[in-house]
Structure formats: structure tokens, C-alpha cells
């Protein structure tokens, strides 16, 4: 796991709102409220999103706090499961079943109702047998300094993480901007903001 070993890929956010004094109890309840639910009956394209324990993505036992609370750090793990129909297999199975139906019923083409029924039955069968795609996004939250590092730089997964974070804790992770480096010097930040990107093709002219 990256926060303990290996390379890190990080996007940074600020958490400016204060955290509650009883954050240990509050956050434990919050995590349990938005814990990942293992839904075997995910339908096509549907996602299941929630928190899991950072040390094992099959656990959601947040009452054991030293699994997610490390002094002034909270480690978070968002799990996203999604079932995706294996399209080539689905298409081939539908074609085979339609061919069989036409043979049995001595028809050239199956009626629309039959085609729909066959597609629905095969989709249900495949979805029951297909394992979900599982993604896990980790993050480290420094409670005292108010920053959050998401161990992923995909815009889509970052948005999903921030949405779950806000729903869970009622706090908004604000994207880091380089202007945050200049927060001790607002005049410099203002002067820099008026600059445009340099066009180096114009420089030598």
C-alpha cells in the first residue's frame, strides 16, 4: 500500500472547515454510515461505493480505530465496485440463442418480443456470473493541518472520492492551487494572477 511502502501518486486538497471536538466518535459513526455494502445483485452499469478499512478492502469494521486513525492522520479507502457486461460474450450468446430459437420455430427472424426476452435472460445470467470490477482509492488526511492527499490523480475517481467524503464528513475538500503557496503574500498572489502564460515563440522576436 502506497502510504506505507512504494511509490506515491498524489493529488492534494485543503480541508478548511474545522473538525468536531469529538471527531473520533463522530467520524467512526460517519464511516460506518457510508461503509461499503457488498451487493451481489448489482445490475448492469450500477456501482456500489463506500468506505472500507485501509488494511483490508473486505472489512468495514471501523470500531477498531487503529485500522484507520493514526494519531493526527486518518487513512481512508474508498471502494468502488461496478459490474460490466462482457459485451463480446453477450453478443455471441444472444446470436447463438436466436439461431437456436429460429431453428426450433422454423423462422428466419425472431420477433422483437423474443429477442428482448432472450437478451434479458442472457444479461441476467451473465451478470450473476460476472465478478465486479473493483477499484480502491486511498487517501491520507492530516487533521491538524487540514490537508488531504488522494492517492490517485484520475479526475473521475477524485470527484467520486470528494463526493463520498463530503457526504460522509460534511466537509469539502478544496482543490489545491499553487496560489496556496503564496497565502502569506497576497500582493504577490494578486500580481501573479494578472500574468498570462508565456509564449516562448514570441520571446526571441
Amino acid at each position: 500500500m502506497g502510504f506505507f511502502k512504494g511509490r506515491l501518486t498524489l493529488r492534494r486538497y485543503r480541508i478548511e472547515d474545522p473538525i468536531p471536538h469529538d471527531f473520533r466518535d463522530t467520524f467512526e459513526a460517519s464511516l460506518e454510515g457510508q461503509a461499503f455494502r457488498d451487493t451481489a445483485a448489482l445490475s448492469r452499469g450500477e456501482e456500489s461505493v463506500g468506505w472500507v478499512c485501509p488494511d483490508n478492502i473486505m472489512d468495514t469494521e471501523f470500531s477498531v480505530r487503529d485500522r484507520w486513525l493514526f494519531d493526527h492522520y486518518i487513512l481512508l479507502a474508498m471502494r468502488v465496485d461496478k459490474k460490466v457486461l462482457p459485451a463480446p460474450l453477450f453478443k455471441a450468446m444472444v446470436a447463438k440463442r436466436l439461431e437456436a430459437w429460429c431453428g426450433e420455430n422454423q423462422k428466419d427472424v425472431a420477433p422483437a418480443r423474443v429477442r428482448t426476452d432472450i437478451r434479458s435472460a442472457i444479461e441476467a445470467d451473465l451478470m450473476n456470473r460476472t465478478l465486479p470490477r473493483v477499484k480502491v482509492v486511498m487517501a491520507a488526511w492530516h487533521l491538524a493541518e487540514g490537508w488531504l492527499l488522494i492517492h490517485n490523480t484520475s479526475d473521475k475517481l477524485n470527484d467520486k472520492f470528494r463526493t463520498l467524503f463530503r457526504t460522509t464528513f460534511g466537509l469539502v475538500p478544496a482543490p489545491f492551487s499553487p496560489v496556496d503557496f503564496l497565502d502569506q503574500d497576497p500582493d504577490l498572489a494578486a500580481a501573479l494572477s494578472s500574468q498570462g502564460t508565456t509564449d516562448f515563440t514570441e520571446v526571441g522576436r
Binding site: R11, H142, F176, S177, Q195, G196, T197, T201
Partner: protein, 166 residues
């Protein structure tokens, strides 16, 4: 203020130029920093978000192709840095307007560090130290970028530097 992240490409170009002409040695808050663009530079057209040219390999930052891309009006989308001071060495790719860190390698955790929590604290502290270095470099860039030094010193220097091999 929201317009500021567009200057990350200028920051990357300044960083590349500054580290090249300084021979990879910068003084930062009284400490000597070794810093150089390593083996990855990615360019894009100013109007596009996706990378248009990716140059890799240890010679990439010193090759004619990279300088030609900048001369031709491409902007730097990401670059990989090696940064070392005292006994610490990092590798990091800075990317995009928010300075995402990719492929970040940290100094080894000291041998005396104990349990899993201590490892986490040590690694997070290492990330924060690097972040403070990048913050200081960005502050230095901002001061240059907002004064006449940018047009009077940096840009002529960049022209000369680009023409050396481009």
C-alpha cells in the same frame, strides 16, 4: 486567483531552465539543493489538455527535441525531477495545474523507525518536506515572474539557452 494554475507551465519552464543553467545546484533557505529535470518531459499545445509530445530517457531534458518543443510554442504539461539535499533524495513527476505528484519516490525510512504507524508518519513527513521545497521554489518563481527580472533576465536567458542546441 482561480487563474493562477495556468501558470504551472511557466513554473515548469522556469524550473527546467533554472536548474539547467545552475548546473543542478540551487541555494534554498540556506541549504544547498541538488535538483534537475530527470527522464521525463511532456508537452502539449496551449489550447489542448492532453499531452502532445512525451520525451523520456535520461537525455530528454538536455536534448534538442525538448528545447525545440518549447521554442515551437508547446507548453510543459509535466516534468520529472530529482531533488536531493543532505542525505535525502526524491524522484517526482509534477503534473498539471494543481501540481499533482506522480511516481513519487521518497528517501528510505530510517532503520530505527518502529511499527506501521511510525512508517506512515515518517513517509508523510517526507512528503511534507518535499512539498515545502516545491512551495519555496514556486514562491521564488512567483517573485521573478511578477517583476522586470522575468523580461529583462529570464526570457533573454531562455532564448540563449534554447538556441544552444535547438
Amino acid at each position: 486567483m482561480s487563474a493562477l494554475p495556468h501558470l504551472s507551465s511557466d513554473f515548469f519552464a522556469w524550473l527546467w531552465y533554472t536548474t539547467e543553467i545552475s548546473g543542478g545546484h540551487l541555494e534554498l533557505n540556506g541549504a544547498e539543493l541538488q535538483i534537475w529535470v530527470d527522464d521525463r518531459l511532456s508537452f502539449r499545445s496551449p489550447s489542448e489538455e492532453q499531452a502532445g509530445a512525451l520525451l523520456t530517457g535520461s537525455d530528454a531534458p538536455r536534448g534538442a527535441e525538448a528545447k525545440a518543443a518549447l521554442s515551437a510554442g508547446k507548453v510543459i504539461r509535466e516534468l520529472r525531477l530529482r531533488i536531493a539535499w543532505q542525505d535525502r533524495e526524491y524522484g517526482v513527476t509534477l503534473a498539471g495545474p494543481g501540481l499533482d505528484m506522480r511516481g513519487l519516490t521518497l528517501p528510505p525510512v530510517p532503520g530505527e523507525v518502529g511499527d506501521e504507524a511510525d512508517v506512515l508518519y515518517a513517509r508523510m513527513e517526507a512528503v511534507e518536506q518535499l512539498w515545502r521545497v516545491i512551495a519555496t521554489l514556486y514562491q521564488r518563481f512567483a517573485k521573478v515572474r511578477t517583476t522586470d527580472a522575468w523580461s529583462d533576465e529570464v526570457l533573454p536567458g531562455v532564448v540563449t539557452w534554447l538556441s544552444e542546441t535547438a
